[in-house]
Subunit: 452 residues, 2 copies
Amino acid sequence: MSKQASNPKGTRDFLPFELSKRNYILDILKKNFQLFGFSQIETPALEKNTTLLGKYGNEGDRLVFKILNSGDKLKKADINSLKENKLPAFTNSISEKGLRYDLTVPLARFVSQHQNDIVFPFKRFQIQNVWRADRPQHGRFQEFTQCDADVIGSKSIIQEIELIKLYDKIFTELGFDDVVFKLNHRLVLKGLADYIGVKNNLNDFISIIDKLDKIGLDLVIKEIGDLISDVSISKLQKLFEDQTISIEKLSSILQNSSVAKNGLEDLRSIFEFFSSEKSLNNEIRFDLTLARGLNYYTGTIIEVASKTNSRLGSLGGGGRYDDLTSLFNMKDTSGVGISFGLDRIYLLMDEKNFFPEHLENSFDIIIINFGIKYLKKIFPVIDMFRKQNKKVFVYPDDVKLNKQFSYANKHNASFAVIMGENEFNNNEIIIKNMIDGSQLTYLLSKADSISF
Amino acid sequence: MSKQASNPKGTRDFLPFELSKRNYILDILKKNFQLFGFSQIETPALEKNTTLLGKYGNEGDRLVFKILNSGDKLKKADINSLKENKLPAFTNSISEKGLRYDLTVPLARFVSQHQNDIVFPFKRFQIQNVWRADRPQHGRFQEFTQCDADVIGSKSIIQEIELIKLYDKIFTELGFDDVVFKLNHRLVLKGLADYIGVKNNLNDFISIIDKLDKIGLDLVIKEIGDLISDVSISKLQKLFEDQTISIEKLSSILQNSSVAKNGLEDLRSIFEFFSSEKSLNNEIRFDLTLARGLNYYTGTIIEVASKTNSRLGSLGGGGRYDDLTSLFNMKDTSGVGISFGLDRIYLLMDEKNFFPEHLENSFDIIIINFGIKYLKKIFPVIDMFRKQNKKVFVYPDDVKLNKQFSYANKHNASFAVIMGENEFNNNEIIIKNMIDGSQLTYLLSKADSISF
C-alpha cells in the first residue's frame, strides 16, 4: 500500500490530549448522574432495522447507517428494486441491521423489552456513540457521543425540577456560570397554535419555530403566516417579539385554552420552586419561542444555551415525552430526559480555558534507563510508587540521557529517578525535580520516605 | 407494532447490575494502565474497508461487518458480480466502510497516520467495542469490548517485563492469585520448525499448535506429522510432552539455530528478571506449546490462563510484532502489547464472587416524598448530601409510604429522609437507617452534623 491510510471522513481519532479533556467532562457527568440516583446502562451499537426505521422521519431513515447482510443472505438482493431506483426496497433486501442513531429509541426499546427486570420509576443514564450518515462537514460528525439521563415511569414535575438542578450542578462544576436554561411546554405551544388558528398543522408550526436560531424571527413569522390569517400572525409576532413575556401574562391571553392551562401550570410549579434566591447558579428563563424539533415531546421542553457564545447553538436539551415506549407496545409510561452536547461543551470549555492544566500528562515520574541491571534494582521502588498511585514511566531503552530527559519534558513529568554506576554501588537513587532542576539522593531502603 | 422489539442476536443490553460489574473491572484496568504510563486513545467504529480488509485472512474479511453506502452511491451496485455469485466484488461495489474488527489494525493505522503528532516510544491503551459477523452462539458475541495496552517504537525487553508486571498487578487487584502467565517466543518456534524440518510451512505449523487446547496433543502431533518425517515428529512429540522442559535444555537441543538463540535469549532475560522471590503474585511459566494464532507476532508471546478453570480459555494474551505498521507504510516500528478478555474475566470473577457487594446500588439515600411543599424545604439538605458525594434519590411521587420504602429496599438504600407534617412545622427531618430500622430526628439547620 503506497498511500497512507486514514480514518474515514466524518469520523475522528482521539489523541491522548483530546481524550483526556473529553473524559474530564464525561467523568463530571457520570459522577453527577450517579449522585442524582441515575444508573448506567448500555445498549448495542447494532439494532434491528425494524427498531430503528420509521422513528426519525424520512430524512432520519435515510441517515441511519445500514449494515450489509453477510454471506449467502446477500443473494437475496432485490435487483428489480435497484433497477427501478427503489433504493429503500433494495436496501431492505440486503440489510437487516443498522447503527444506533440516537440513545432515545434504544432506551424505549430497552425499557419495553426489560420491563419485568427493572423497577419503575427507572432512572438511567447512557453515554455511548451514535452514527448518522450526514454529509461530513466542519463540526458535524458521522460518529459522535451522546450523553443522556432519563427517568421513565413518573409524571411528577419533581423530575423536571431535579433535571434542572442536575443541569445546573454539572454546568457549574464544568466551570460555567453564564448559561441559561430556557423552558417552554408543548401544551403551551399547542394552546398558542389553537389561539392563532393553526389547526391541523401543529407539527409544522413547531418545526418552523424550531428554525428560529437559523433563519431569524422575520422568516419564522413569514412561514407561519402562510398557515394562518393576517390578524393572527400579527398577534403571534407581538407575542414572539416580547422577550420578557411572563407566564402570568400568557395565562390571561390563553385563558380559554384548557390545554395551555395544564402546560402553564407545570411551568409555574417549576419557576415557583426556583423562585428563592441562590437556588441555581445559572439563569432559568421562560422562552415562548423554544420549540425543540423532535416530535415525541409532549410536555415541558428545555434547552441550555451559553449567554456569551450563542453562535455555537444549544449545549444541551430535553423534555418530557408521554408515550415513547408505545412505539414498542408498552403504553402509558411517561418519561422525561435531558441530554448534553459533548462536542459543543468541549469547544466552549477549550475556548474559555476551563480545563485544568496538565490534564493530558501521561505520567508523573520517569525512570531513567541505564540498563536492565540497574532497573532490576530500582523495580521495588517503582512498584511502591505505583502503589502510591504515582504514574511511572520506565524509559525502555538505555539511550543518551538528554534523549530520555527530553522525552520526560515533552510529557511534563514532574520527577526523574536516576541510578547510575555510583548510585548502583551505594544502593541509592537520585530524585530529580524536573521543574526546578533540584536533586536529592536517597538510600533505596529509605525510598518510602520520599515525598513528591 | 404488535410484537415486542428486541436487540439483535449476538448483541447485548447491559442492565445496571451487569454494567456496574463490568465498569468495576474496566476501572481497575484503566487505573493501572495509567500507573504504568499508558495514555488512552480512541479510534472510530467506522474504518475504511481498505484499512480493514486483507489484514485478518480470508475468514476475517468475511467476518468484517460492512456498512452499506448511502444515497445515490447505491446505484453503483455491481449486479453482474452478484449474478455470477462473486459476493466480495458485489459487496465492494456497495460498501466503502466497515466496523472495527479489533483494536490492533486501527492502532497501526493510527500510529502511521499520526506519527508526527505523537512521541515515541508511544504507550497507548484503548478500551472500545469491536464487531465480528460470527454466527451468534452461547458466549460468543458479534459486539464485544476489547481492552488493549501496547507500546510502539521500542525493542527493549523491558517492555515485556513491564507488561507482565502490569498483568500481574491487574489480576491481583481483581482478586486472582491463581493465574499463570505462559510465555513463548516466535523465534523459538521458528527454530523448532527448522529443527524438525518444517520448511515453508511455518504459519501452518503455528496454526496447528495453536489448536492444542481445542483438539488435544494427539491430533496436533498427527496434523504436524503430515508436514514432516516420522523421526522428526517423534522428536517433537517428546518435546511437547515434557511439560517441564527448561529454556536451558531447549537451548542445548536447538544450539545450532541462531534464530532460536535470539528468542531463547529474550526469554532468559525475562525469567532472570523475575527469578527473585515475591516479584510476582501469580506464576510465570515457559510453555513451548504456546503459539498464539495471529500472524503478526514476531517475538515474545504471552497468554494468561486460570489454573483452576482452564475450560474458559485464556483470560488475556499478547506479544511482540516487529512490523505491524508497515501495513500502513511505516517501517521498522516494533511494538508489543497485551489484551484482556473482559467477558471471560467477568464470568470467572462472578463465579468466584470476586465482585464487591452492593456494587450495583444505584443510591445511598432516598428522600420520601410527601408532596412538593415538603421537598422544597428539604432540597438545601439534598444539595448538601450530594456535595458530600452521597447518591440521593428523590422519590418523584407522593404515593403510599410502603411503596416508597419498598422501592428503597429493592435498591439497597442505606438511609431514608422523612419529613411529614410534624417535621415540616418543626423544621426537622427524620433520618431512618434502612438496615437496622433506627430513626433519629434532626433540625434542618443542623443537617450538616448528620453522619451517615
